[in-house]
Amino acid sequence: MFDWSKVKDPVIAKRLQDEGRAFVARCHFGTQGVAKTKQDVLDTLQRLLDSGFMTLAFDIEANYARMVQEVTGGKVPLHAAVSYPMGRMTLKQKLYGLQSMLDLGIGDTCVCIDWQAIFSGRYRDVEKEAAAINKEFDGKFLKNAFVIPATLMSDLEIVEVCKALDNAGVYSIKVNPGTKLGVSYEEVELINRNFPHRFDIHPSGNIRTLEAVEKYLELGCKIIHTASSLEIVEAYLNRQFALYTGGVQS
């Protein structure tokens, strides 16, 4: 955690706080998985609260949403995923799952497109599924990103799937789910090159450094999924502090 005691100048302290707040507000942070316990979630939440910053959303499994809302008085924005990570539920199951997210007060979500359709080259089915989800939920969430496993796809497959999502009216694409599948700069560049200014791209997985986050921001990404959000903002603040003070106490 950033050592605020070393910042003596209130003007610099204020500037760092503002910058840190803006930086973290682009990040998702949390804990997910089949065996995550209440204590795991509370410990991770406490780390976030102790940082003094708030990420764009706190990522959890849906069945901890009520608990986090009770603990925080609903003040922490939540993110949970539907049909995660492989998207091999039925469309009806996904629609019901998304509605349940809204009912739980989860304002930020992502839904995995049927990866079996993707890997089978059934791009028309990808489009139909995305369009059906969009028709039902467009505008109802703060964010609803559609998850594609870009790392496992060829360039051609990525372009074809993005075409399908474009036709379906999708805005936000989460590139990889995490869970061992990490994004690359090339995947984001490929989508940007073929669909300039078209998609809000959320890189996810294997993003662990300030340099990586800044590279994705340079590539036009506005939202970053990283379990290292708090370490990265600390690195960011240390760098900014050094920039303003030459590394010495101000």
């Binding site: 209440k38 990570p85 039925t90 199951q93 349940s100 990866w115 079996q116 890997f119 089978s120 061992k180």
Partner: protein, 219 residues
């Protein structure tokens, strides 16, 4: 083969990269090797059903792999499968393992009862993560599953990206002893050799689930 192929559930449920052709290969591979059971996820059912013959029993996953949805969502998943028009024989439903480990046993019991009731005549197997549970917890989950009317227990999701420990023979032995013949125990997770299959069967598993079954049986 000594009939060992009849004790195997061939699966692609945990595979990230699964296409229609992979689902066809799963079914055809099972048939070619004399396996009688497969485990797939819901969107694979149409391909599986147009490929399989009557000799193949199909288990379909619910809330796979996280199991971390609200009870109503999981019940809806089952209801949707039953209304989908797609044939399947059994349900493998992932329990809210994290919630159970957090002390919400009553919630877990209610979830099991609700899912089993929603399934009606379809046999339900509950997927747990045996390797992260104490022996006492394993026994309690088995008792709850039996009380809910489950057909059996699957010892793990087998979903490697979660970085969760996979069950060993000792976990299966504990589950089998607790089940005392009332529930069928299915070993799952990291089973990639004939030796592991045999270890799990010796430990008391009634069935062993493996994504590598075809290659294992191929020698």
């Amino acid at each position: 083969m000594n009939g060992i192929e009849k004790k195997i559930v061939y699966t692609n449920a945990s595979a990230y990269k699964t296409s229609d052709a992979d689902c066809e290969r799963l079914v055809l591979g099972a048939m070619a090797k004399g396996m009688e059971r497969i485990f797939v996820l819901p969107s694979s059912l149409p391909v599986v059903n147009r490929t399989r013959t009557d000799g193949i029993r199909v288990a379909v996953g619910v809330s796979y792999p996280s199991g971390a949805y609200e009870q109503a969502v999981k019940v809806h998943e089952i209801e949707d499968l039953l209304c989908s028009g797609e044939a399947f024989d059994e349900i493998y439903a992932v329990l809210a393992v994290g919630r159970y480990l957090s002390g919400y046993a009553d919630e877990c019991r209610a979830e099991m009862e609700a899912m089993a009731a929603a399934a009606g005549e379809k046999p339900v197997y509950f997927i747990m993560e045996a390797a992260v549970m104490t022996d006492g917890q394993k026994k309690e989950v088995v008792e709850m599953a039996a009380g809910a009317g489950a057909r059996g227990i699957v010892a793990s999701t087998g979903f490697a990206p979660y970085d969760i420990k996979m069950p060993g023979p000792e976990d299966i032995r504990t589950l089998a002893e607790a089940a005392a013949g009332k529930l069928e125990i299915i070993a799952n997770g990291g089973i990639d050799s004939m030796e592991k299959i045999q270890d799990m069967l010796r430990a008391g598993a009634g069935l062993v689930c493996s994504a590598d079954a075809y290659h294992i049986l191929n020698g």
